[in-house]
């Protein structure tokens, strides 16, 4: 089974102090630690598990700056066969639609080569931790003209057919049979991602990462970046703390009993 996985190199912001850029169209990235997007890490693991069972190859793609090589090397250390980085200054400002177009064109380009890289499956994470759009995967499926399933929590493969489990509202699960090639957007928790050791990552430095730009993909400048986007970011800001927020102070016992009183008074419990 040949699999393409799309990954994103994102800042880890759970513990960081976030500062908004002066132009209010992004965050200050200096001092932040970057890593593979969490859901994409599960997508890579799912690809590795499928490869272990059925053989084939895994290619990871990312749209990002040269620093995204860190994430690609980690993927290579885990057993991914090929890594391709899609980098061009003109890609900047791309929304989900334009990003999906870059990825779709890269997947087509890889398939056109003298020794083509095809695919039975394209995997993405369900959404990116930084912009949280959750649109690249399904838009990419549409552009490639293949079926997709979103929010996948497990996969079963038998006789060349694939069944995917999806989690629905209210604790329901559904199982879909999907024709391959297909695209799945992977939910976190579908598996337990493996660890890439530092020696493994250093070994992966020897493997080549291919970089493709606008010209290599044969895309027009108007098709990418802000010009090729359907949406544009107007403003990014940290919401002000409103008067409705109450910070309880005191020992854990005092705070919890006060909280309980509030819950009771408000009819929560």
């Amino acid at each position: 089974m040949d699999i393409v996985v799309c990954v994103k190199h994102v800042p880890d912001t759970t513990e960081a102090e976030i500062a908004i850029r002066d132009d209010e169209r992004g965050i200050e990235k200096r001092g932040l630690v970057f890593d593979i997007n969490e859901a994409d890490n599960y997508a890579v693991e799912e690809a590795l598990l499928l490869k272990e069972r059925f053989g084939g190859s895994i290619t990871v793609l990312t749209v990002g700056p040269p620093e995204a090589d860190e994430t690609l090397r980690m993927c290579l250390a885990k057993g991914v066969d090929k890594a391709v980085r899609l980098t061009d200054g003109r890609f900047e400002g791309s929304d989900s639609y334009a990003t999906a177009r870059i990825l779709a064109e890269a997947i087509r380009e890889l398939g056109r080569r003298p020794s083509p890289i095809g695919y039975d499956l394209v995997l993405t994470g369900i959404q990116a931790d930084d912009d949280g759009c959750g649109q690249v995967g399904v838009t990419l499926a549409e552009m490639l003209g293949i079926p997709h399933a979103a929010l996948v929590i497990s996969t079963e493969t038998e006789d060349g057919k694939m069944k995917v489990h999806r989690e629905l509202e209210g604790g329901l699960h559904e199982v879909l049979e999907i024709e391959l090639p297909a695209l799945l957007t992977i939910q976190t928790g579908i598996n337990e991602p493996r660890y890439a050791s530092i020696f493994g990552i250093r070994q992966a430095m020897k493997k080549q990462i291919e970089a493709l730009d606008l010209g290599a993909l044969g895309l027009a400048e108007e098709a990418v970046g802000e010009a090729g986007s359907k949406t544009s970011l107007v403003r990014l800001f940290i919401p002000e703390v409103t008067a409705q927020a109450t910070i309880l102070q005191g020992s854990p016992e005092e705070v919890s009993s006060e909280l309980l009183t509030i819950f009771k008074n408000e009819g929560v419990i």
């Binding site: 880890d12 759970t14 513990e15 960081a16 102090e17 001092g31 630690v33 890593d35 885990k78 337990e192 991602p193 493996r194 660890y195 890439a196 050791s197 530092i198 020696f199 493994g200 990552i201 250093r202």
Partner: protein, 345 residues
Amino acid sequence: MRSPLNVRRIIYEALVRDQLDVNQRPEIWDCTTCTTCTLRCPKGLDPALMLIGLRRVLTEGGRIKPTVRDALESTFKFGNPWGRGKAKRSDWAQGLNVKNLAEGAEAEMLYFVCCTPAYDDRVQAVARAMVKVFQKAEVDFGILGNEEMCCGSEMRRLGEEGLFEFLVEENLALFQQHGIKRMVTTSPHCYNSFRNEYEGRGFEVQHYTQFLADLIELGKLTFSKEVNRVVTYHDPCFLGKQNQVYDEPRAILQRIPGLQFVEFDRSRERSLCCEGGGGRMWVEASSARERLAEVRVKDALALGAEVIATACPFCLLTLEDAVKTTGAEGAVEVLDIVELVAQAI
């Protein structure tokens, strides 16, 4: 904990019969690297190295427990195994007026705090007590603030040798950059790492119990209050068994006015491990039988001790957990030696 781990059996199966399947032996993760086996080995071997070697096979293969994976990834990304941001590392020191050597301040000595006292709510009190004692004794010291990074001791023992090597390089460069000549550590694990495993280090390192014992001996640290409690001392393995620092912690406790010191039956070389070493802070034991820290708490109660003193962040946390799981809260308290010292000045 009574573990199914039998290190002689593992050595036999791996080296003599060549039939050990590391994936089928979860007890490989039970070892706390306390080195009791090394001290007692009639053939002078170091069996813990065998287990660390087997962990390396598992870690390099990537198939490790999620808790271990997360601790290793956090250490690589943020310089600590607790998943906490670099920018919050020195929050514990706010308002204490401590020099930050990473921001250009100069001092005779570096206080190497360690990840656990830097971030853990309970152990932060130990770091603050340390500052109080150093300031009382007019020690010229500073910290590396948010630039401080994990020493790598536990990463090496979890089988991540590459990460350990990475941290050694980063730390040696950091210490050199800031001209560190002398260092005192909170944790026996950092102390052991720096003293015995950092090849080419250009600085002197002491555990804080050695440093405080010297200050007391020289009359630079004096006590003005009584601590009228019965106190026993739990030897951290990385301080006692691995570095033979047995006397200094006891010397400090015995100099505190009013303190009545009682000795565990199993002490010094025969001391029982708390099970917090060897990366075990991130690994659940394979056996559900009684934990050694619980045995320790029961022994302390039988001795009539009101306080179990120790000198290691991991011992402090595992013994405190055992006080809760044995229902001994209110009967016995776990404190770091420096916290008792801070109470007496």
